[in-house]
């Protein structure tokens, strides 16, 4: 216990962000509670449930990211695992794919081990290069060629969605040059997650209030041009003011936040289309009010890798 407490070493910036997150949650909970007392409706009920889940997610995340780094890696690896499990439950795969699925699951600990060690090159090429060759070959070894091309495409792509993107969050805290001088990987991780989730919420809020013109009518009827533009602008502003977590200057901050907002929207849209293909509304019902794990981290899976490389390009290289 003492060891855990001693390992909590937070800079003043991170303490500020934790205070901001907690106060947002308190304000949201109280205002939804008052709103529900004044005029109960289905929307308020859903928002209350969502806020409750946000409390849980924030506590788990803050605990995992501020205590011992090992717990952060294990937590993120489990997040990848739950995401893959969700996807494979909905995918209609062939019986002969089962042994290859095991290899897909086993790639999670390997990828996170590379992240833990900070082996940048191995980390980068393990899934896009090695797994993209190994998985199709294992499928060939199973001997069943009917519909094999579908499995050959789906399985490596599921790793890109569920493991490769998310594991960049782990690389942020282990990458040596991300933790030197005035740069802190933990702070960058917090910045990325805060901005990505703020973007999700802002797009949702602007869409609910001003939404008129549908942006992707066939894929996701809830997404509107008003929500998209309002979300991008407000996310860029929020990112600009949260800049104290990063070593970036003003124009870099604006560019990074803008990119996160656009990429977050892309990830959201991609998963929406996938869900439409599966014929489900949510991936699962693991998080009350939000749906499955992939419903919540859809935008993170596309923002984290570009964010890492933007920071790498702007600050380190």
């Amino acid at each position: 216990m003492e060891k855990i407490i001693n390992s909590i070493d937070l800079s003043s910036q991170i303490q500020w962000v934790i205070a901001i997150i907690l106060s947002i949650l308190v304000i949201a909970s109280i205002s939804f509670w008052i709103w529900n007392k004044l005029s109960p409706s289905k929307l308020v009920k859903e928002m209350t449930l969502r806020t409750k889940s946000w409390w849980g997610m924030c506590f788990i995340f803050l605990f995992a990211s501020t205590v011992n780094p090992i717990i952060t890696y294990i937590g993120l690896a489990f997040l990848s695992f739950f995401t893959l499990r969700e996807v494979y439950t909905l995918l209609k795969l062939r019986d002969s794919d089962r042994s290859t699925l095991l290899v897909c699951y086993l790639s999670i600990p390997i990828q996170y081990y590379f992240a833990y060690q900070g082996w940048y090159t191995m980390f980068l090429i393990f899934i896009p290069v090695f797994m993209f060759v190994i998985i199709p070959f294992l499928l060939v070894l199973s001997g069943d060629t009917d519909d094999i091309i579908r499995s050959m495409c789906i399985l490596p792509t599921s790793l890109m969605l569920g493991v490769f993107g998310i594991s960049h969050l782990a690389l942020l805290i282990s990458f040596p040059e991300m933790n030197e001088g005035n740069i802190s990987g933990k702070a960058l991780l917090l910045f990325l997650i805060f901005i990505t989730e703020a973007n999700d919420i802002m797009q949702f809020v602007f869409g609910k209030i001003f939404g008129r013109h549908k942006i992707l009518p066939k894929v996701s009827p809830n997404k509107t041009w008003e929500g998209f533009i309002g979300g991008v602008i407000s996310t860029t502003i929020i990112g600009y003011y949260m800049g104290f977590l990063t070593p970036l200057n003003s124009w870099q901050l604006i560019l990074v936040s803008f990119c996160i907002a656009i990429l977050g929207f892309m990830g959201d849209a991609i998963i929406s289309a996938v869900k439409r293909d599966f014929g489900v509304k949510d991936m699962s019902n693991s998080i009350p009010g939000h749906g499955g794990f992939l419903d919540r981290i859809d935008s993170l899976s596309t923002t984290s890798s570009p964010f890492f490389h933007l920071i790498y390009f702007m600050v380190i290289a």
Binding site: F81, R85, Y88, T89
Partner: protein, 211 residues
Amino acid sequence: MKKLILIVTYTIFWRNFLKIIIGLKYYNQQILRKKKQFILIANHNSHMDTMAIMSSMPSRYIHRVHPVAAEDFFGGNRFKEILMRYMVNATLIPRKRANSEEDVDPIEVMSNLLKKGRSIIIYPEGSRGAAGVMTDFKKGIGYLVKQNPTVDVIPVYLDGLYKTLPKGKNLILPYNCRIIFGDSINFDSFDLEDIINAAEKAIHKVKSLVE
């Protein structure tokens, strides 16, 4: 001793393994807490079904719950029988009803267990069948309820477990799946056909409880 083995394997190992790694969700599990003795009926597609049901039993009476298994498949050699008796707490029965005096009658074996105050788990479909398909119930459940009308019958629906370990495979893989417990069945009449129909209907009703 047997109780300890069962508690360690099911309430500690299997329950956590199924929850965290396999992704099994338990619904209405609390109804088991109040019960003392029951006949638990479930749809059957995989060997994991028994693990899922046994792992949801309260540790208080887990040693008094006996899954019923076919002798020709699970018995045969001594090692298998000991494994079934101590690790699964199973009772082995022959598949066919007794024709002559010397044969063991499966219904009688189960009835005797119930008279001793034990609970049993049976799969009225008789065998695992095709993946995800529920076949017609065999008559066994009808005879059993007819002979023991006072024992509660709990319907359980197992959803998606056939994916984690399909028939003919031996690799257990994680998939999100569910086990749903229903309230004990009220039988209007104790006619053989009526009992079987009511039991089948009850399982389909449990399936629609969680959507």
